[in-house]
């Protein structure tokens, strides 16, 4: 492979990882509730802030920062589920109503953080031992943090995929996504499954947030918004409800964006946001259900 191309692929690893981890949360929740959890990007953002606050102001080790991100994101995710979506769903609201509520949650949390921290960028603390550049003999530049991010992501993706594929609750999640009523008739409490989906999705968003901070070195209250949209696009491209599909699509989008910037003349890179959407439109017009098989009932 061309050295330049290979370098671009390496550069895309961590961005792809971030999107892949985010996409899983969208795809799980959409699969089970039929709902775009618009606030997922904000769960991600709050995760990043939890890690940032703990590491920068308390001075805790990086690993505790990761734990804080995961914990904070899970807490917010479960809070949103319990106090915003569930009351809506309990009143038999239409999905659109819940979607608008998720809009509200997104707007609310993003601006709440802006109220508290202002919307300026802050520097995410990256441990120096993670941030080293290796040069291979052939002249490739590899940043160790990208390798770490990719490695951790890969392990998590495999773990989650195995959980979905083989475990009792994982099978139940897929069953609920396909037919929630039939799942109740075999004794599945769908509330538990919904809570589980939110917990797993939010936890992964927390990891993704740390990856984002480590990779780009910055965070701000609106970071979740663009990253979240791209994560959701990945979820759709991967076939809604299909966890490995979402992860693969996340990498495809990450790689696509990096190659778009890397291969085309620099004047094109300003329309990078457009590129993702054009990619989405093209794929949806060719295959309206996404690249891989959706894991929901197709009516």
């Amino acid at each position: 492979m061309d050295l330049y191309l290979l370098q671009q692929v390496i550069n895309a690893l961590s961005y792809g990882s971030i999107l892949a981890l985010l996409a899983i949360g969208y795809t799980m929740i959409y699969g089970i509730l039929g709902l775009i959890n618009f606030a997922h990007g904000e769960i991600f953002m709050i995760g990043a802030f939890c890690a940032y606050l703990l590491i920068t102001f308390v001075g805790s080790p990086f690993i505790l920062g990761i734990a804080a991100a995961v914990g904070g994101a899970m807490l917010i995710g479960l809070f949103i589920e319990r106090f915003i979506y569930r009351p809506c769903l309990n009143r038999n609201a239409e999905v659109l109503t819940v979607f608008i509520a998720s809009f509200g949650a997104s707007l609310g949390f993003r601006n709440l953080m802006t109220m508290i921290y202002g919307d300026g960028r802050r520097a995410f603390p990256i441990p120096p031992q993670l941030d080293q550049i290796l040069v291979t003999e052939s002249g490739l530049f590899i940043n160790t943090k990208d390798i770490w991010i990719f490695g951790v992501t890969l392990i998590l993706l495999i773990a989650v995929s195995c959980f979905i594929k083989f475990s009792r609750l994982g099978v139940a999640m897929r069953a609920v996504a396909y037919n929630a009523n039939a799942a109740r008739l075999v004794g599945v409490n769908s509330r538990v499954i919904v809570t589980l989906a939110f917990a797993i999705g939010s936890a992964l968003a927390g990891v993704s947030a740390v990856a984002y901070g480590t990779s780009f070195g910055i965070l701000n209250p609106s970071m979740g918004y663009l990253a979240g949209l791209n994560g959701f696009i990945a979820a759709v491209l991967g076939g809604i409800g299909n966890v490995p599909g979402a992860a693969i699509a996340g990498f495809i989008i990450g790689l696509g964006e990096v190659l778009f910037v890397g291969l085309l003349p620099p004047s094109w890179s300003a329309i990078r946001p457009t590129f993702v959407w054009i990619l989405l439109f093209i794929i949806l017009f060719i295959k309206p259900s996404g690249l891989f098989r959706p894991n929901i009932r197709i009516e």
Binding site: A93, V95, F99, A101, G118, D119, Y225, L229, P288
Partner: protein, 341 residues
Amino acid sequence: MNGKIKFLIGIIVYFALLWLAQNFLRDYHLRLLIQFGLTAIVALGVNLTNGYTNIFSLGFGGTMLVAGYTTALLTLPVEYKAQFLQLPLWLEQLSVPFPLAMLIAGCLGMLASIILLLPAFRLRGQYFILASMGINIVVENLAENVRWLTHGNIGLRGIPMYTNIWWVFGLLAIIFYCLHRLMQSKHGRALVVISKDQELAGVMGINVVRYKVLSFAVGSFISGIGAALWCHQVLMINPKAFSLLYVFQLVAMIAIGGTGTLSGPIIGAAILMIGTELIMPLQEGFTLFGMTIPPAFGAINVFTAILLIIIMIFRPKGLMNGKELWEHFPRLFGLKKQSSS
């Protein structure tokens, strides 16, 4: 006969109130009132598609941007265009009167929405929402980068001031009346059937695609006019003018006021604008009993969000709950209590 007289009196009172506002309100409040009026126009347009026809589209920000740039380019002074933009000569020299510019803006907005959204009709449910959101981002991104036409991120400034209370509230009244008539006609009922059940509508012999396009065309024409009015009030336009945040706020207004009604979006707009005014001091920081409360940016949006969530939980159809204001309070509007048609 009686009804006609009441209608006339209503119109006279409406314009008398406008005259009073024009002459006795302070500048600041007058501007707020105008802002409210044009937001209400946009909300009515969006509600036609998102509320009545139940095609939840977030793409209207994009089409409004098209309309806004159109009216700006048609009315900006020739010297300004020559200095900052690289336009073809005919466009550079073109200068049209405000009403015509507004009309063209509405039509181009309509055209843009049909061209951009028609392909997306293939997509179902929330995929459509996603695609429509993408259209927003794509148009915004293009506006940032097609510099010869849009002047990039800086946007166009110095748009002549044409919008005033008469234009805004005159158009609001006309649009309101037209939409009211539309919704009572067979076309309006067709839209409502489509919103309830598309397949049923198809079986009933309603041309679903035609009506969806119609609803989109009329809706985006109205919001395009709103965008044009906005430009001639704020006197500038840039790619972020109708960004997703604006789209969110509009959706919130409609959802809070009540989707699928004519009075709902207007009431929603009023609530959010009044709320914004009340919370503005908090956002800018103020002094209370000698204590300085620091500014808290985003307080307004937090307020919007909380209100929106509460309404969605306890009154999913919005405050109006599917009925018009005058159906809630028939006495107040001098109507006899009648079953809603």
